[in-house]
């Protein structure tokens, strides 16, 4: 067994233990309630733990299947996220072909470029080509009503759900000297830090939360939760340096950047939900709302994490 595999197994064992412990805590909390009583917070917690199990199993299976498995998993995530996003936009009939192209041409091509390791075109395909071609397809139908809003919505949906999300599996294309064959652990690092930071902010907020940090966007987020969550996720990131190509200090800085981007991304996506008048993006994952509700912080931190690693660590 090589080092990459043994690190992966240590990680899997750690996550598994964490999930078993949280499932046990969730179960005990449920049992401690007087019979016939129910508590919304505990029910929500148990639904979340169940969803984490599913996420961990899916990501684990994708890792087992290798590069193709990871690409398929995130390709599906992009599809489901794009479907949630477009559902909430006010597109018109004239956008039909542009939307069809977004789902059935742009999305598969973006992931195919990753498969082919065509980094150059991968990084500009959506920001340049899709950006110019989508409004051209829409304008050919001659409907100018709310035109700028409609094309901007479709472009934003593609940037967020396809372009940004595809930077998670793009981590597999980096060539880091001394880290060969272990890139999958970079994905694990990113996803673990983002998810833990979300959970820790929630826990710190529940325990010590007093001061609202963004009352008009996300009334449940507090300064205490934010500071506690970011600080503890940064420390955990530093402690996970052994699965990364970073030193403990660098790993901590990376985790800090990831959590900050994740937090701010969460605020941006909340603002979009408020604008559209919905509480959740969808209902795909029980207890978590839609897929974007879970992915929003990953989506914002993935491209930044990717480019920092690519600039300072990758040989390509």
């Amino acid at each position: 067994m090589n080092a990459a595999n043994s690190d992966l197994w240590t990680l899997v064992l750690g996550i598994f233990t964490l999930l078993v412990v949280s499932s046990a805590i969730g179960y005990l909390l449920q049992q401690r309630l007087p019979t016939g009583k129910s508590n919304a917070a505990i029910e929500n917690l148990n639904a979340r733990i169940k969803a984490w199990w599913i996420m961990v199993i899916l990501i684990g299976l994708a890792f087992l299947a290798g590069r193709i498995g990871v690409l398929l998993l995130f390709g599906f995530c992009s599809f489901a996220a794009l479907r949630e996003f477009i559902t909430l936009t006010d597109t018109k009939r004239a956008d039909h072909w542009a939307l069809a192209a977004a789902f059935f041409v742009v999305l598969p091509l973006q992931y195919w470029l990753l498969w082919e390791r065509q980094y150059g075109i991968f990084s500009i395909f959506i920001p340049v080509y899709a950006f110019l071609l989508m409004p051209i397809i829409s304008v050919l139908r001659g409907d100018t009503e709310r035109f700028l809003i409609r094309i901007a919505e479709v472009q934003w949906a593609l940037m967020i759900c396809v372009f940004c999300a595809s930077h998670v599996p793009a981590l597999l294309t980096l060539t880091i000297p001394g880290y060969e064959g272990r890139n999958v652990l970079l994905i694990a690092f990113l996803v673990i830090i983002v998810q833990l930071s979300d959970v820790l902010q929630y826990v710190w907020g529940k325990l010590f939360g007093r001061t609202k940090i963004a009352p008009s966007l996300s009334p449940s987020k507090t300064v205490e939760g934010f500071v506690g969550g970011v600080a503890s996720a940064t420390l955990i990131g530093a402690a996970l340096w052994w699965i990364t190509p970073f030193t403990p200090f660098q790993a901590g800085v990376m985790a800090f950047v990831i959590t900050m981007m994740g937090f701010l991304g969460g605020l941006v996506m909340s603002a979009i939900k408020r604008d559209r008048g919905v509480k959740d993006w969808g209902h795909l994952i029980e207890g978590h709302g839609g897929l974007i509700d879970r992915l929003d912080s990953v989506i914002f931190s993935a491209p930044i994490f990717f480019h920092i690693v690519r600039y300072w660590w990758s040989a390509t």
Partner: protein, 214 residues
């Protein structure tokens, strides 16, 4: 032969519809209406009854048949296969001049045999900007000939955006199917009164925000 491949084809169509729309049912507070029902829904796409059919629990789905226009579903052999063999549609003739049988009679007969129906009281696909077209009188005549029937309003949201008129490629969008509480015709209720009540019950289920599925 036809009946052998009809079942897998039905399953494949439902899987495809779910993959595109991730369709989700929203049931009324009283829970899923049990027993024999006439589900009456808004109509904007040929796929409407597939979504209603897909979200019904299997025990109810097995005995639920869509009511559809014979002109369209007998037009070609593929339409005939999907309409009659796959979805076991109750085909009614809409053209008053040419038809051999009264649609109400046909529907009542199917109801008497124990089946539930999916009915589109607008009579045709709504391709206007209006949320809902005025109801045809069919629902009223069926309800007055079988006054004990439970009538369940069903709002299908977003499917018209998935595949607008004249388009051939469906856009993946999340659809919801909202069921209301069952209603019945009241003794001596006038046609206008009843249709108005049914139409309001259906409109009450429509979402307040165009794209919203809350």
């Amino acid at each position: 032969m036809r009946s052998v491949i009809a079942k897998p084809v039905a399953a494949a169509i439902v899987v495809f519809a779910r993959a595109i729309t991730a369709v989700r049912a929203i049931w009324p507070n009283d829970g899923i209406p049990e027993g024999q029902c006439v589900y009456f829904a808004n109509h904007s796409s040929h796929g409407d009854f597939i979504l209603v059919w897909a979200v019904l629990p299997p025990r109810l789905r097995r005995r639920t048949r869509p009511v559809a226009g014979a002109e369209y579903w007998l037009k070609s052999s593929i339409n005939r296969f999907i309409g009659r063999d796959v979805f076991d549609a109750v085909l009614i003739e809409r053209d008053r001049e040419k038809r051999a049988r009264d649609p109400i009679e046909v529907m009542a007969e199917v109801v008497d045999s124990g089946s539930s129906l999916i009915l589109f009281p607008e009579g045709t696909r709504n391709q206007t900007d209006a949320q809902l077209l005025p109801f045809k009188s069919g629902l009223f005549h069926l309800a007055s000939s079988r006054p004990d029937l439970q009538l369940v309003p069903v709002w299908i949201n977003n499917l018209n955006r998935v595949m607008p008129k004249g388009e051939i490629v469906p856009i993946p969008l999340i659809c919801t199917v909202t069921f209301g509480n069952a209603m019945r015709i009241e003794a001596g209720e006038s046609k206008e009164n009843f249709l108005d009540r049914a139409r309001t019950a259906l409109l009450d289920l429509s979402p307040k925000h165009p794209g919203g599925n809350e």
